[in-house]
Every structure is written in structure tokens, then in C-alpha cells.
Symmetry: C2
Subunit: 390 residues, 2 copies
Amino acid sequence: MVYNKAVKLLSILGSTGSIGTQTLEVIQKYPNKFKVVGLTANSNIALLKKQIVQFKPKAVAMMDEKSANQLQKIVKIKVYSGLEGVIKVACLKETETVINSVVGSIGVEPTMAAIKAKKNIALANKETLVTAGDIVMKEVKKNKVVLMPIDSEHSAIFQCLNGENIKKVRRIIITASGGPFRNHTKRQMEKVQLKDALKHPTWSMGAKITIDSATFMNKGFEVIEAHHLYDMPYEKIDVVVHPQSIIHSLVEFEDRSVMAQLGNPNMKIPIQYALSCPDRLPTTIKILDLADITNLTFFKPNLELFPCLKYAIIAGKIGGTLPAVVNAANEIAVSYFLQDKIKFLDIAKTINKMMKSHKTIKNPTLKQVLKVDKEVKEETEKFIKSLNAN
Amino acid sequence: MVYNKAVKLLSILGSTGSIGTQTLEVIQKYPNKFKVVGLTANSNIALLKKQIVQFKPKAVAMMDEKSANQLQKIVKIKVYSGLEGVIKVACLKETETVINSVVGSIGVEPTMAAIKAKKNIALANKETLVTAGDIVMKEVKKNKVVLMPIDSEHSAIFQCLNGENIKKVRRIIITASGGPFRNHTKRQMEKVQLKDALKHPTWSMGAKITIDSATFMNKGFEVIEAHHLYDMPYEKIDVVVHPQSIIHSLVEFEDRSVMAQLGNPNMKIPIQYALSCPDRLPTTIKILDLADITNLTFFKPNLELFPCLKYAIIAGKIGGTLPAVVNAANEIAVSYFLQDKIKFLDIAKTINKMMKSHKTIKNPTLKQVLKVDKEVKEETEKFIKSLNAN
């Protein structure tokens, strides 16, 4: 196939999810700028088939082997399967940029493989940097590829650093919506229901990240990601709660001047910016009207009420395999909470337990990180079962 | 004299004023970065003498001839006098950058002379761009010099445009503190006293600019300046009232992403940035703590209550000599108000009268602009006397 050189060739991992489908909407709007060559999904055959018809990729993959076999029977292009298949699609010869919007630690290996294959990365998968930040950033530098964050906070920081000298940064300030329980008392927290946790006040996102936002774990992960993305010591990263989600994050410089990126909460901005940067392309997102919003508020996060934020930062500071432990324990605990099998406060309790029983490995290899991820997930399941047995 | 090439050589016009003294504080802190070669003042002999002793300029000037003669008797360096003298100091051979912090239309000619002498400009004098923006920006381009704004709003916009393509700007949003009367009723406005108008809620500035802030004329001038500085049509420039003066201005891009510059209200940031840009140097200004501020508010400016903003924008859109008329009428009206000789609302009334009786000259020369400035000032004095006679 011959492609126009002005067009950026993309593989999207997790194309049927929330970020994946929004990425495809951006691509659809700018066919002269972006072209899909690969797509991957977990098991949503119907939607992936639709995407194949519309975007005509060269190859696709499905994590679920059975789904992959079913899909191969009804489409003409190659359908790969499993993690190996996802990696194949990430590393397609034509692919220039890989958008990794897979949810969970399963997204780590495809990112690493793509970096080694000299692909630029647009990264929505939090686990890549949370669990293996040191390893991944080392490969990014070694292979001289660009790693662009796809989330509103890190995209904001990236935009604030535009044209600036990163050595002059005094502090990165990540804003947090605070989730649905930011004004709860400890007693109210004990009675939180799944349906309440799924109601995010400002952002429409996938289920896992919505729960992570309600526990503040999401914000803890973002602190770890900022540490790796901008090579910033943890002491220089702050979190401030900003319920309106209008200021997406800020950067304070040595002269005490602070740059911020603002906008109505819409993932299209960071998705499109990750693809078009340093250029900006028109969108039809609602225009920000501060006089209409009238009020932006800010307060410090409550670490007593939301210990997950504290756990993530502690894990980040200690480093090694500990962030992978927090991530693995959280991933399992949230999946049980999403099945309504544990209470909201059990998420933090479970993570704390797993952190305490882990012996951190310093400077781990990716293999060691993935082993810890697997083992902690198993231990977490056991712990949750014992919790429920009591 | 032999100067270190890493040091920026500066002439400061209006060195005894609010911006001038703060500029000298910045220079004092970074003697390895900045060096004063010229200073000018109006008539404050005592302070200028002190500055000469401390900063050892090559030459100085005083607008007031008598003051100049007096100073020459007590200092060894050359003391020039009058507007011609100020221009001489602006155009000293060694001078690389001219900081123009003169107040009033008297600042226009030195800026123009300095640009023609290929000096970079750090501009705090609003009248330069308000009265002669087209002419000045043409010379800036022709002489390939840099014109950096010294005021919090335009410095903010400049910082928001860092690393960005100005063609992708959708809108410039200038914030206004709203001054001391932003919540007044029409009836309360009628009873405003000089002492009330001099109490600015967030910024500590000179008397003239404090009154201009209370009438919103300052904001009108900033719209005209933004039009010239960023070559932006008036339709793309908005004003939003933001009483806390924390967000100093914003830039909206085509992708609906909005960049903003924030900080505690302190002129040191824009002054220093104008001198150090694109570098940033540490300051000891109070750190911005949003969780401590808790609340940022915004509302639309009330053009009925503050017609000066409307007058300035109308004058900017019509262009030619009309902005110079608004500026001249305002300069005289404010000076009378500062002497407690007219009422607060008479300022807007006077400007409106002068605008209505002016026949705009399109594409004027600088000479024509300065002639209009002089004539309108005389007419304004006459009108004010007739006002007071009634």
C-alpha cells in the first residue's frame, strides 16, 4: 500500500474503548492528516468489525483468542490474537505512532515493543509509566522516540512547557476533580455504593478510571507518571483539588510565573493534541466561557479520606517494584468493586495490605515487574476472598 | 567603557516612577545579567541622584529643564534635558534595550527614536501603542527589533504564545481586576471620591494608571495594545472581569485549548520577563497557592457602567487618529480628577465629547498624531473649564 507522506500512520491499541473510539473520531475528521493501519480490541467483535469497514486498517488483533477466530471468519484482513497479536499490530512496519489506550498492566508490553521498534507513542495507558516508568523512559531516550501523554493533566503540563526550559520549572501542579466523594465525611465514605462511584461529576470516562478517580488513585498514578514524563522529583509535584475540571494542570517556573492549560472537560483536546502536536487543529468542542462558569474553586486533597493518593506517592518515591504492586492490587480490587463484590473502602485497605507484604526489588527488569504484577494480582484475589469470608 | 557581552545594557526612561524603580530592583538583583547605561526622570532630582550613585549610568536626562540644570551641578556625568534629552539617553550608542516606563503620550517619541536606532524595547508606556500603534509596529518590523510588553496582561499573552503558532489563535482573553468600583451601582458611581478611586483592590501602581483601572480605560487601552502587539483583529479580543487578578490573561487556540499565565499580582514578573525572556530567572515573589486562594471568579464587564472600555474599543476599531483623541482627552481628564477638580463620571463624559467632535485622520503620520494629541489636550482643558463653569 502507498501512503501519502503528509499523513501520520497510526496503530490504535484498545480501539473499541472510550479513548480508542474518541481517537477514531479525531482521525475521521482529519483524513488528510491521519490514517489507521492497525487496530486492536479485547473482545468487542461487532464494534471492531465496524471500525475495520470504516477505517480500512492493514491488520487488527483481538486479545481474546475466541473472538479473534470469530472475527477472522468475517473479515478479509489479517486478525492476530492474544498479547502477541496486539504487539504485532503495534509494531506493523508502516505504523509511525502507536496510540496505546489499553486499560490495565496488559498495556505495558505493547508500549515497550513499539518503542523498541522506533514507533512514537501517544500514551493513554497509565500502567505503562506507573509500573515500569524507569525502564520505559530509558528505552524512549535510547530509541529517540517521542512519548506524548493522552490525558488531560499531562497534556496540560506538556502544553505549559511549550517553548520553555524544563530546568526552570519549580513545581508541577496537577489538578484533581476530586471525584464524586470529595465532600464526603468518613462515615459517608463507608456507605458508598457502586452506582455512586460511577457517577463522575465532570468527566465521562471508562469504568475503571472513574473508580480510580473516586478513590484518588488516578491522581496518585498521575503523580508517578509526571515524575517519569518530565523527569521531575516527587518533591516538585503537587496536587490541588479543582472540582470544575477547567484548569487541567499548571506549571510554576523559577520566576514564580505559573502557566496553565484550560478548557471544557473533553478528552478530544488531549487526544488530538497528542497526534497533531506541535500543531493545533480546529475542534468543535464547546468554547470556554469563564464569565459563564463564574467560579473556579481549589482546595488541598484530603489524604486521610483518600489514602490511595498517599499510597501511590509513597510507592513512587520508594520506586522499584512497589508502584507495580500498588497498580496490581488496585486493578484487582477495582474489578471486584465493579462487580459489587467488595466495599469502596476495601479498595484502599487491599492496596495497603499488598504494599506492606511486598519486598521491593530495586531497579527491576521488565520481566521482574511483570512477574510481580502477576503474583500480586493472585495474592490480591486471595486477600479479597479472605476479606469476604470474614 | 568596556562591558561584559553577556550583560544586557539598558536605558530606563522614567526611572523614578513605579515601574522604573521596580525595574532597577530587578537589575540590582542580577548585576551579571543587566547593566544600566542611561536613566531619565521628570523632576525627581533626589531619587535620580541616588540612582546615579548606585547604578553608575553613562548619562541621564530630566524632562524638566530646571531640574536638569540643578542635577548637572551635583553629578559628574552628562545630564541632558527635555524630550530631546530623553531621546538622547534612549539612543545611547551602548544601549541595547530601552525600558520605556514613562507615563503619558510624552513617551511616544522616545520609543520611536529608539526603534529607529535599532534598540529593543521593553514597553510599559501604554500611549506608544494606543496612539501610534500602526506606525510603531511598522518600524518594529522594519528595524527587526523586539518589542516586549511590560504589563501583566500582555506579558501573560506573550507567555501563553510561547512555542505556539500565532495563526492558530482563536481569541485573546484579557482579564480585568474590575477596579474598586466593579460592584457599584450607577448611583454609587456618581458619588465616587478621589481617595476611593486611588484604592486599587489588587495592584499597587502609579496614580494615573490606578484611575484608568477604575474607569476601565486601562483595559480599553490594553485591547488596543493587544491588537497591535499580536496583530489580532478586535473581534478576536475579549475582556473578562476577574477580581482576584490571579489569571493575568489567556489565549484560546483553534483546538479550543486555552493557555493562561497566573501569579500573585506583582509587576516584578512581567518586568523581569521582558528583560530575561526567553529565559526565566528566580524571584522571591510570593508563591501562588491556589488552595489558599480557594476561589477565582469571573464576570462580563459592564459597558453601561464603564463606558470608557467601550470608547477605547470603538476608537481602536475606527483607528487613525481616534485612539490618540481618546488617550489625550483621558490624560487631561484624569489629571484634573487627580487634582480633585472634576467628578469621576466627568472623565468618561469628557472623552465622549472629544471623540464626537474629532474628524478622524486615516493612516496619519506620527507628526499628525502628535499634533492631534496636543490639540485635543488643549480642547479638553477648555471643555473641562466650561464644565466647571456651569
